[in-house]
């Protein structure tokens, strides 16, 4: 017979759940409001969403250090807090871009905001646990919402993107489940901490099965992180979705995936299984190379940026392979810096969004569109150029510091050749970023009308660009405090 179970409220550690709860409440509130009051302005929803995100953020700030709750299902440690922070900040930046000049149907719908909040909740759960079940659920919640958000852009390309993303996601989900099964069979547990303990006790045998489990997990997470060869969705999905959403996708799902990957791979890197290191290096290198050389030949800026974000993911993968505290700090530093720049860059494309494709039947932002932009819209061109140089890792802009720290970490870990490969790749990458700059600055204008480049701009969007730009330029000053925060949190989570 079952004896009654008594659970004290304190042991649940409700504070850990608070951020997600707030957002879930927010999503429900939005849906309810929509039931009663139709035709509310989109600015209302945006601000409401922003408000909830803000509250969520304040709830998050109180948290630090590793603490578990809800029968040890929840695990909020340093990287969790960091990742949630990044997710929330990007979300806030993203949702403001909804206040564009041109009307877009999806932003008028309350469901959009509700799904958006659900998605954030999903990501937050994903990073706030080490239980594979909850990770899987968070992942799926977020993904399903995301597919819908993409499709709601309501273009043929958006549907195509959503279906491609969805189908591959379904396959990835299958692999995730299979990997979980393998580890469950190996250890009798679905919690990473227990898995580690048991595997340690079993001395990491049998090797093949463990490695196979890792492989399935790598494929599933690699899909989220857009690691070759599971990256094929990235350019198509970015191209199909609206620019800010593409920017958002290049940051948030990846950081969530990175956190899971860090937690998961930490087990094996601690055990110093050389296979994992080698395979990760292999994946990182082909991811970088393939993405970079493919980006060289792109004709559309958005697609180019998609490949660029694959390459950046490959870059970060190297630090994942190292797995030291410093390396994990490097990942987060890189990602924070990359976040601002990338969102800024995609927002710039969003600003340049217009109704019809003017210069190419397929692409909205072909390179030719930006020809001679500096003559008709010098400010925009300069800002865009700064973002491009930043993504290229040009000093002293933000990503450079991330790159510096990351390569420094790789060098410290003794992988000098890998570091050389990384810098060679960043040298290759310069070409395609520069291609846009060449078009903007060195070619003759394609149009007299500078408004085409700011067709979709509005004050809030300009503010977003301003924030990201400022951060990008004066990153030199921010790097020190950010790195301080990251290191503190990282050390406290013992990764």
């Amino acid at each position: 017979m079952i004896s009654p179970i008594s659970v004290s409220i304190d042991s649940l550690n409700i504070a850990l759940l608070a951020p997600m709860a707030i957002l879930s409440f927010g999503a429900l509130a939005i849906i309810c409001i929509d039931l009663f009051a139709k035709n509310l302005s989109k600015s209302f929803y945006v601000m409401l969403t922003l408000l909830f995100i803000f509250i969520d953020f304040t709830a998050l700030i109180g948290l630090n250090g590793p603490s578990r709750g809800f029968f040890d299902v929840m695990l909020v440690d340093g990287i969790s807090v960091l990742a949630q922070g990044i997710i929330l900040i990007s979300s806030a930046l993203f949702i403001i871009t909804a206040l564009s000049n041109k009307p877009f149907k999806e932003f008028k719908k309350a469901e959009y905001y509700a799904l958006f909040l659900f998605m954030i909740v999903g990501f937050q759960f994903m990073v706030a646990t080490d239980n594979l079940i909850l990770i899987f659920l968070g992942l799926e919640t977020a993904s399903l919402s995301l597919y819908t958000l993409i499709a709601m852009h309501n273009r043929n390309k958006a549907f195509e993107a959503a279906i491609k993303y969805f189908t591959m996601g379904a396959l990835a989900a299958g692999f995730f489940a299979l990997s979980s099964l393998v580890f469950y069979a190996l250890t009798g547990s679905v919690e990473l901490s227990v898995i580690e303990k048991v595997l340690n006790a079993r001395n990491y045998a049998p090797g093949s099965a463990i490695l196979a489990g890792i492989v399935f997990m790598l494929i599933a997470l690699g899909f989220k992180l857009s690691v070759v060869p599971t990256h094929t969705w990235t350019p198509d999905v970015y191209e199909g979705s609206s620019a800010p959403l593409a920017g958002y996708m290049s940051v948030v799902p990846k950081i969530a995936g990175l956190v899971v990957a860090i937690r998961f791979l930490d087990i094996f890197l601690h055990a110093q299984i050389a296979w994992v290191e080698d395979v990760l290096i292999f994946l990182a290198v082909i991811t970088m190379f393939l993405a970079n050389i493919t980006a060289l030949v792109q004709e559309d800026v958005k697609r180019m940026l998609a490949f660029s974000s694959i390459a950046h993911a490959g870059f970060v993968l190297t630090a994942l392979m190292i797995g030291s505290t410093q390396a994990n700090s490097a990942i987060f530093l890189y990602w924070v810096l990359f976040m601002f720049t990338n969102i800024g860059a995609f927002t710039m494309l969003w600003i340049a969004r217009h109704k019809k494709n003017l210069w190419d039947s397929r692409y909205q932002h072909p390179f030719t569109k930006f020809s001679g932009m500096v003559k008709v819209s010098p400010m925009m061109a300069t800002i865009m150029a700064i973002f491009m140089f930043t993504l290229a890792g040009m000093p002293p802009f933000s990503v450079f510091w991330g790159k510096l720290y990351l390569i420094g970490t790789v060098v410290d870990s003794g992988h000098v050749i890998l570091a050389v490969i990384m810098v060679i790749n960043s040298a290759i990458a310069v070409y395609y970023y520069m291609k846009l700059i060449v078009y903007m600055f060195l070619k003759d204008p394609i149009t007299e009308d500078g408004n085409i480049y700011i067709a979709n701009s509005s004050t809030p969007i300009k503010v977003i660009v301003g924030i990201t730009l400022t951060f990008t330029i004066v990153a030199s000053v921010f790097v020190e405090p950010i790195l301080g925060i990251i290191s503190t949190l990282m050390k406290s989570s013992g990764l």
Binding site: E111, L115, F118, L134, N154, L178, G188, R202
Partner: protein, 180 residues
């Protein structure tokens, strides 16, 4: 003995059904086979003392999921044979065989351990459903709620997607096809 017979019977049935799903040219057959396969899978659950799962499998999968598919099928008018233009057959065969061999090879290996203590052991004399309920509302309370959120989100998503009004004419697709 009974277990073995049941296992092999169900195995053959399930593999057969899913084989039809994978290889059939007719969507209707495929769907029916899938539904059948699902039901037979619930047989395994019962065999494995997971009564609750067995029930859920029948109710959710065969009841809800397959019904959804059936509705979709009506919508798509897929009673006809499906013409599939499969290219690179050799690659597909190679990949199929290889992935099958590797997956099965790995799962056939004795990967489980004998020394593991159950963390949430099944208690003697307590029904499966009861046990599930107990764990679900203590340990897995949060996942359970997240699943609720997920289902809600999926529902909203489904509604939103179907509700979407057409903005662009399908001409773009024609153009894209014409390019090939």
């Amino acid at each position: 003995m009974f277990e073995a017979i049941a296992f092999y019977t169900f195995s053959i049935l399930v593999i057969g059904m899913f084989g039809i799903v994978v290889f059939s040219k007719n969507a209707l057959y495929a769907m029916s086979a899938l539904a059948g396969g699902m039901i037979f899978i619930s047989g395994f659950f019962f065999l494995l003392d997971a009564d609750f799962l067995g029930v859920v499998q029948i109710v959710v999968y065969t009841g809800a999921v397959m019904a959804l598919y059936a509705f979709g099928m009506m919508f798509f008018d897929s009673t006809r044979d499906v013409k599939e233009n499969i290219k690179f057959k050799k690659i597909i065969y190679t990949l199929s065989v290889l992935s099958a061999i590797f997956t099965i090879f790995i799962l056939m290996a004795p990967i489980f351990s004998t020394k593991i203590e159950a963390i949430y052991p099944t208690l003697q004399g307590v029904g499966n459903v009861q046990m599930i309920g107990l764990i679900l509302f203590t340990k897995y309370l949060v996942p359970f709620e997240v699943a609720a959120i997920m289902l809600l989100a999926a529902m909203i998503a489904g509604i939103v997607l179907v509700k979407v009004k057409m903005e662009e004419t399908p001409t773009n697709i024609e153009v894209a096809r014409g390019e090939k």
